[in-house]
């Protein structure tokens, strides 16, 4: 065809070069990613209803004791105690600036069969990509462990990170659509949490097939190649308890 299609230059060749790449927010840039497509129900619900309630519920009249790195560390090391603070990581004061909120979600799938057949990892990558809408990244194994038949340097797992508005969308889909469909699902484990405000739970292959994106063309995936996954919900709370309170307010059930 005779029609010329403009493409912006791939590399920045200096400020004196005539053909400059456009700013990344411009639609004609190679780095442009189209922005939000709709308002998000869970995000609006958080800002209108949940955030102010959480602020009131976690009000403290006097400042919480915080870990002073200089004073407390020296005291703890002098007593020969481990230097890691074991207290709950409370903020000094709960203000409108540090209310716990959802920052992102990581979907991770480690596929043991991919040691022998890489098709398993391809299927896992496709599934993670179709669930999240984000291109999955592959990770290689680091250790050689004979007991588990693990060799280093082999592509073994895929992850995808969802941030911002899409994270609220993904969480809302989980809570409203996918998790209610799982048979005899009791809830996220009550002891889940890494003391930094991140909650993780796993999903079996049967649960993964409950996603609408997978269910619609489940037959197209090779049999027995649909993997299970881990879903990690990252929040801006500094501790388990606040993270769980936030997720309970959003509707995620916990067991114990």
């Amino acid at each position: 065809r005779a029609k010329y299609q403009y493409r912006s230059p791939r590399y920045y060749r200096g400020r004196l070069a005539p053909n400059m790449p456009p700013p990344s927010a411009s639609p004609s840039s190679r780095l442009f990613i189209p922005g939000p497509f709709a308002a998000e129900r869970l995000e609006d619900h958080y800002w209108n209803t949940i955030a102010s309630d959480l602020q009131v519920l976690s009000y403290v009249h006097k400042q919480n004791p915080t870990f002073d790195i200089e004073k407390d560390y020296r005291q703890l090391t002098a007593l020969r105690l481990p230097p890691k603070p074991t207290r709950r990581q409370l903020p000094a004061l709960r203000t409108f600036r540090n209310i716990p909120r959802l920052t992102g979600i990581t979907v991770h799938s480690m596929v043991r069969e991919a040691m022998k057949d890489s098709a398993y990892l391809h299927a896992a990558g496709m599934i993670v990509q179709s669930i999240t809408g984000v291109r999955a990244s592959v990770h290689k194994s680091k250790e050689n462990i004979g007991m588990w038949e693990l060799r280093s340097g082999k592509s073994i797992s895929v992850t995808a990170q969802v941030k911002g508005r899409s994270a609220y969308r993904f969480l809302a889909q989980l809570i409203d659509v996918v998790l209610p469909r799982i048979k005899d699902w009791k809830g996220v484990a009550g002891g889940s949490g890494d003391s930094s405000g991140n909650i993780t739970f796993g999903m079996s292959p049967e649960a993964v097939s409950m996603f609408p994106e997978i269910e619609v063309n489940y037959d197209m995936y090779p049999p027995k190649m649909v993997p299970g996954l881990h879903i990690t919900i990252h929040t801006s709370a500094g501790n388990d308890v606040d993270a769980k309170i936030l997720l309970k307010a959003m509707g995620l059930p916990f067991d114990g």
Binding site: P27, P34, F37, N48, T49, S52, V56, T86
Partner: protein, 383 residues
């Protein structure tokens, strides 16, 4: 998580013996640092203390209950009128304020918000950019030629009337003047949804079933056949009868906004307010006071949840001179509550209220005065 619960034994009033069951009160599980936890350890040394045979006037002093007041006998500083001579001796402070609790009870939004025109246009623009920039849909990977699935997909695509980024009309990607393509219309969306998602097979099967059933019923009754109008259950519209009538007493008005309860007192000026009343009794705290206030003002027919024990706002005003003996003015602490079910009922209310309304933040602004609104506006959610 590490939780340490300590069981305390408080010495009760007028008891001769300490028994494990009667006098031990389980305290709420507190995540306290070691320093604070030591305070609660002190009363456990109970076995070594002698028991007095007489009944004590008040609880023995320990760190939990406050020590009895040194200066005054049982006097309620929040009550207003008292003899000036007697009162001057009892009020050590120059300025004394009446403490009152107010209740900000709200019904949170039940629907997603109505998007303004600019926001709708912006989202439409981003969706259209996405259509243009994405790789084309790999149709033959998902739908094999000649299958029923392919037929259904083609029918649904035609019904959708979507912009085709890789077709002959790819150049016509802009929103035309006067077009409503970018706007969200719930009724149009419902029909569109049915046409583009319900498969032909299901549609025909369910229609046939429904027609057969209605035919049987009609034959049994001897009437003419009625055809069902809807294949898929239709959602309710976003505006209700209460919106059309603008009935401010109803809770199903303005479902996408937060509604707050205001009540009308029997006066000419400053009539509309949040329900409030002064704290009564010596030991009533803010949350109890707020619960009592709401019960007295709006009746028991509401399923409510009071959020936390901390107030969300303060309205402070001075009395005009000569209004009260010792109080300079009043401080109203507002407590947050949510209504889950029920309705306010002003019959037989003890506060002499005439009327109530459930209003959004901007409607409230017109009804309460400027000064009150300035004190109260930051507690309220605009949406």
């Amino acid at each position: 998580m590490n939780v340490s619960c300590k069981t305390l034994r408080l010495r009760g009033l007028g008891t001769n013996e300490l028994t494990n069951n009667q006098n031990s009160l389980p305290v709420i599980c507190l995540n306290l640092p070691a320093a604070a936890q030591r305070i609660f350890d002190a009363p456990r040394v109970a076995t070594t203390i002698t028991h007095r045979p007489y009944s004590s006037a008040g609880a023995q002093p320990n760190s939990i209950t406050p020590p009895p007041a040194i200066t005054s006998p049982a006097v309620n500083p929040t009550e207003g009128s008292r003899d000036p001579v007697e009162a001057q001796g009892e009020f050590p402070r120059k300025d004394w304020w009446d403490i009152a609790t107010g209740v900000v009870i709200s019904r949170p939004p039940l629907l997603t918000r109505d998007l303004p025109e600019f926001e709708q246009s912006y989202y439409f623009y981003q969706r259209r950019l996405n259509d243009r920039l994405q790789l084309p849909f790999a149709r033959w990977f998902y739908f094999k030629k000649g299958t029923l699935g392919e037929e259904e997909w083609k029918r649904k695509q035609a019904a959708e009337e979507r912009y085709q980024p890789y077709g002959p009309r790819a150049w016509a990607d802009e929103l035309l003047k006067g077009s409503t393509e970018h706007k969200f219309d719930p009724l149009k969306d419902y029909e569109h949804l049915v046409a583009t998602t319900v498969t032909g097979e299901e549609e025909t099967m369910s229609i046939m079933q429904a027609r057969q059933e209605s035919a049987k019923e009609a034959q049994a009754r001897g009437e003419e056949m009625e055809y069902p109008s809807e294949i898929v259950e239709k959602p309710f519209p976003r505006t209700t009868q209460a919106d059309i009538e603008n009935n401010t007493k109803r809770l199903d008005r303005k479902l996408s906004r937060t509604l707050y309860l205001v009540v009308k007192r029997k006066r000419d000026k400053h009539a509309w307010r949040f329900p409030q009343s002064r704290l009564s009794g010596k030991w009533e705290h803010l949350r109890w006071g707020a619960q009592r206030t709401l019960l007295e003002a709006a009746g028991p027919n509401m399923n409510t949840w009071f959020v936390g024990s901390a107030p969300i706002g303060l309205y402070k005003y001075k009395y005009p001179p000569g209004h009260a003996q010792n109080q300079t003015g009043k401080k109203v602490f507002f407590m947050k509550a949510r209504i889950l079910a029920g309705q306010a009922d002003l019959t037989n209310n003890k506060q002499g209220l005439e009327d109530f309304q459930w209003l959004t933040k901007d409607e409230l602004k017109e009804v309460v005065g400027n000064k009150y609104y300035r004190a109260v506006q930051h507690m309220l959610v605009a949406q």
